[in-house]
Symmetry: D2
Subunit: 346 residues, 4 copies
Amino acid sequence: MIVEMSRTVNAHQLEQLLKSLSEQHGPVHPVSLDGRTLLVCPKALGPVADFDQHPEVLRTVHSTGPFHLAARALYPSGSRVRVGGVEIGGPGFTVIAGPCAVETEEQLAAAAEAAISAGAVLLRGGAYKPRTSPYEFQGLGELGLRMLAGQRHLSGLGTVTEATQPDEVALVAEWADMVQIGTRNMQNFPLLKEAGRAGLPVLLKRGMTATVDEWLCAAEYIMSEGNPDVVLCERGIRAFGRETRFTLDLSIVPTVKRLSHLPVIVDPSHSTGDPALVGPMTLAAAAAGADGVIIDVHADPAAALCDGRQALLPEELKSIIDDLDRVTAALGRPLVRQPARAALPI
Amino acid sequence: MIVEMSRTVNAHQLEQLLKSLSEQHGPVHPVSLDGRTLLVCPKALGPVADFDQHPEVLRTVHSTGPFHLAARALYPSGSRVRVGGVEIGGPGFTVIAGPCAVETEEQLAAAAEAAISAGAVLLRGGAYKPRTSPYEFQGLGELGLRMLAGQRHLSGLGTVTEATQPDEVALVAEWADMVQIGTRNMQNFPLLKEAGRAGLPVLLKRGMTATVDEWLCAAEYIMSEGNPDVVLCERGIRAFGRETRFTLDLSIVPTVKRLSHLPVIVDPSHSTGDPALVGPMTLAAAAAGADGVIIDVHADPAAALCDGRQALLPEELKSIIDDLDRVTAALGRPLVRQPARAALPI
Amino acid sequence: MIVEMSRTVNAHQLEQLLKSLSEQHGPVHPVSLDGRTLLVCPKALGPVADFDQHPEVLRTVHSTGPFHLAARALYPSGSRVRVGGVEIGGPGFTVIAGPCAVETEEQLAAAAEAAISAGAVLLRGGAYKPRTSPYEFQGLGELGLRMLAGQRHLSGLGTVTEATQPDEVALVAEWADMVQIGTRNMQNFPLLKEAGRAGLPVLLKRGMTATVDEWLCAAEYIMSEGNPDVVLCERGIRAFGRETRFTLDLSIVPTVKRLSHLPVIVDPSHSTGDPALVGPMTLAAAAAGADGVIIDVHADPAAALCDGRQALLPEELKSIIDDLDRVTAALGRPLVRQPARAALPI
Amino acid sequence: MIVEMSRTVNAHQLEQLLKSLSEQHGPVHPVSLDGRTLLVCPKALGPVADFDQHPEVLRTVHSTGPFHLAARALYPSGSRVRVGGVEIGGPGFTVIAGPCAVETEEQLAAAAEAAISAGAVLLRGGAYKPRTSPYEFQGLGELGLRMLAGQRHLSGLGTVTEATQPDEVALVAEWADMVQIGTRNMQNFPLLKEAGRAGLPVLLKRGMTATVDEWLCAAEYIMSEGNPDVVLCERGIRAFGRETRFTLDLSIVPTVKRLSHLPVIVDPSHSTGDPALVGPMTLAAAAAGADGVIIDVHADPAAALCDGRQALLPEELKSIIDDLDRVTAALGRPLVRQPARAALPI
């Protein structure tokens, strides 16, 4: 249960309300979200109807948990997240593209050009790379972030990049438009909390065996620190199959959208690990109701320092987005286009 | 490796060829498929090139196994299966609909009408139902088959129905247009062999934890008995998720189509177990490259004797197929329409 | 809910009871088990207490389903199954050993000798082999059954062998002491029913992704046809792991024993697919509370026609059973020894 | 491939060797482990035999990766880890027990007494708790660490407690004897690296869907920072089963011991989530070859702030360890006993 306060509530009123709420309904967690104060009562399973009449209570929202701020009941028409001038979760379908890892300025520039030419509107690229082995390329770190920021300036594309520990979040917030929490960190709770305090949108990948409750509780960690701008990303689960790297779970998209107001995108590259499957799975993600996709592209996949196996060539990306354009039109969700300012970078 | 013989090969030539093939390449399995003799050499991993020159050898086909007749190399442009006047695997997208189980003539007639009105072109309905508990409704058996045949006559719709043991296959062949092998029977090898000898098309559902190799080897069991008309059906795998009944594995569709020439359809009803997910998953199946879908519909789902939980209402089915029509058009694979004769049943 | 009748109940009394039970508690399924009539009322979730007083009612058993005859409530102290003079589910721990498939009389004789020398008390060996590919060795069929019966005669060991379709059950019953239902057939319901009517003990392997409810409902299919002699066998589930052939799920043993009165054994050979793991997993199965194990042994694993990869050599089997002897003694469940008659075969 | 240097190698020799190694075998990672310098050459798949003759090279170790320092080839007879005066991985079997979370001094004292009375030799207790929901008890933090240190002083038991982010590792090192990396953090690479630099033994729980390669690569992250004292802990995987909280994967124990020299223990509490299964699974873990177990115990499970559902009562723990004593004796691995100093805390 959530109690949403008016903007005019004063400290004294709030204190009194907290007191009587907690007496009747157990612990109360006040959260400041989008300039409003929300009082989350995780144990109040029944209605807190008597508070509806309070002059400073805008509404009480029925949510039975385990997640509350992430529940669809809070924003029944869905929430939208703005990243670098582009919207995710609105009427259009948003394509993010870029290399798995930032390697060099040239590589990043080529990927950004491929993204723009194909019709993508946000640029991905990792500077901190969580790698299975300590002997693999671990990312360029802050240097990579700076390269990404440079490319944002040149191309006009908003940027998405990963943080792997709390300390890195502030750096990412300084240099990029959206911070990604990777699948291995979906339950890295200190990192989630830091992302909740950082003031930039968060792309929250699903843990490779996360249930929906666990995923939305991870979003709740971010939101309960005051950050409403969370985009979920399905990226494949670990099942028994060996033909693809992971098993893309597309039915989770409509399942999550029913339970939560948060936008959901799909990663067809990391889930399949196979460039030949990225096209079909991109179209299928759109048809399943996703709000966007995030796709790996690299001008020279064979030379990539990280996960090159699954990266598309620029022309492959373009061909897929051309197909996607027709499908999203038929679905009534046209592709989100690059805002005009992007055409005039200096 | 497969050696395909000309139609003019005589018994003596065949015998000689078998002898020299088996001497050089291990056991040989002769299969008669579509009027041609194919010699399957499962151990011949390398090329059997020296046989290419044989006057009665049309071609040798490189297949490394474990499946051979089901391998795409045999029919690189894909195979098509005709069922009740309708094609699966051709340029169009085929919709099968009907109730989970045949219950009464009225129920079946209502479902058939719903299927036709919505735009489906084949009718499903089970007479032999594999049920988890012995105390659940087990299907009407032969009576159900006869009802289904009656409805075929009245509606003009070709029919698909399940056999659960070898004895039932001949009965199904007598009364229906396509025999279904269910997920629990995907490795019921005596049943597969019988389906291979029965002379009617087979809908082979994927076992709920079958790998691609196991699935295509199951198809190979059917084909190696002489039946080329196999349609594969993805119907959800068993993973850790609890939000849906099974986890629909759509990336298996392009994966299998790359490995095999057989048509692949998707069952969005039994996989999700949730009518609200059937629409998105139907569109996603088409976008992923499937050749069709098979959907549960029931005029009164709450009264259904079997799996009513997931059945669509007639108007829901129609609404989904309307959406599907736009998506398949955008994909360049228009919906397969009911052949003209269906409009004039006697 | 189950109503257990006295042995003296007459047809008229039974009919009346059936009538009033079904009026009050929905459908009733009469089952004749061990000479007693049991009335299974799957929908009677609450107590059927008013029937307790009926003079011909011995007791009513509370079982909430989905399984009833397999529920521990029916025989709270556990049931025991006798096979070839040996008990499974009693105070001792039972070892079954033998080759995956019957190949030749010599091979079978060597395996039987290995089994006896090591301390196993029942002989396994398949005549009907469910194989993934149609081109693999499919078993010797009836000839294999006859060889197995010959070896039973010579060695005195009771025998276990698989049936893969209903027709084969009667043949197995003629030539062997226990019929096995394999993992791929756990939900082959016509086969289960036939096994329920065949009058010999059944070894019911767990489906590789069967839940406990599905497994015990499969046992219920057998029992509801009148056969009380079902032994369950955990043989590994399909999870994401690739180091072993399947993932042995030992915690299912105490879980099932809590829910069901049926004996449970473990197959460490087919689950791991690795001879080096058979020893540790055999000991672990005993420690987890299993009633026995079934182990593959072959005098020449490399030459085996089926699953030789995982078969133990005779001396490896002996070494493992020696270790097992100490562990089962510590657990208070000594190894079941070969009955005396076995020493004097004619 | 690993090249192990003598202790007398000097900086100049090392530099030369690094140079020629990297020229011939790609990147070299020097690691200081137990006072020796090891040069890890992850790309040197073949032997680096020519270096064997170098006067300062003690030996070259063949390891094909992806893990090297964790490979059994490095210490073929297995490694032992000392924690608070007790050994894990030696000839005996080690029992760790304690509450899931440190709650109060009284609760911890009661749990420590239960642990000692039952025969456990190390005390577990979490101060930083990774919880699915942000509204659940998150642990006492540093206060909890201090309580744990107090209890170590009073009871003489060495202590194990979790760190959930890099910053917490130094605190844990200050107050406890062993730092635990939880399942959700198995691929939290910054945390692993910090644990590698912290100078205290690490208990590395397996990620709930980690493959063996991923698990041992996580250990490699710790070891490659210079910490040889890693103990692995199997704690259940996420599969389709719903009867237990996770699926305990005991066959991973002998699998990992074959591949790695690191000790392996088992957590029967968190894996099953069911106190009735902790006993059988503890015995099974010992029988499968584990080096120890870690068990939840709580004097009042119903009042526990975290995971009380699975905690044993003190008398249940004692009963299980009594059984375990007999089984480990039969296995030839007697229980590790509390060292004498523990009897005389000041």
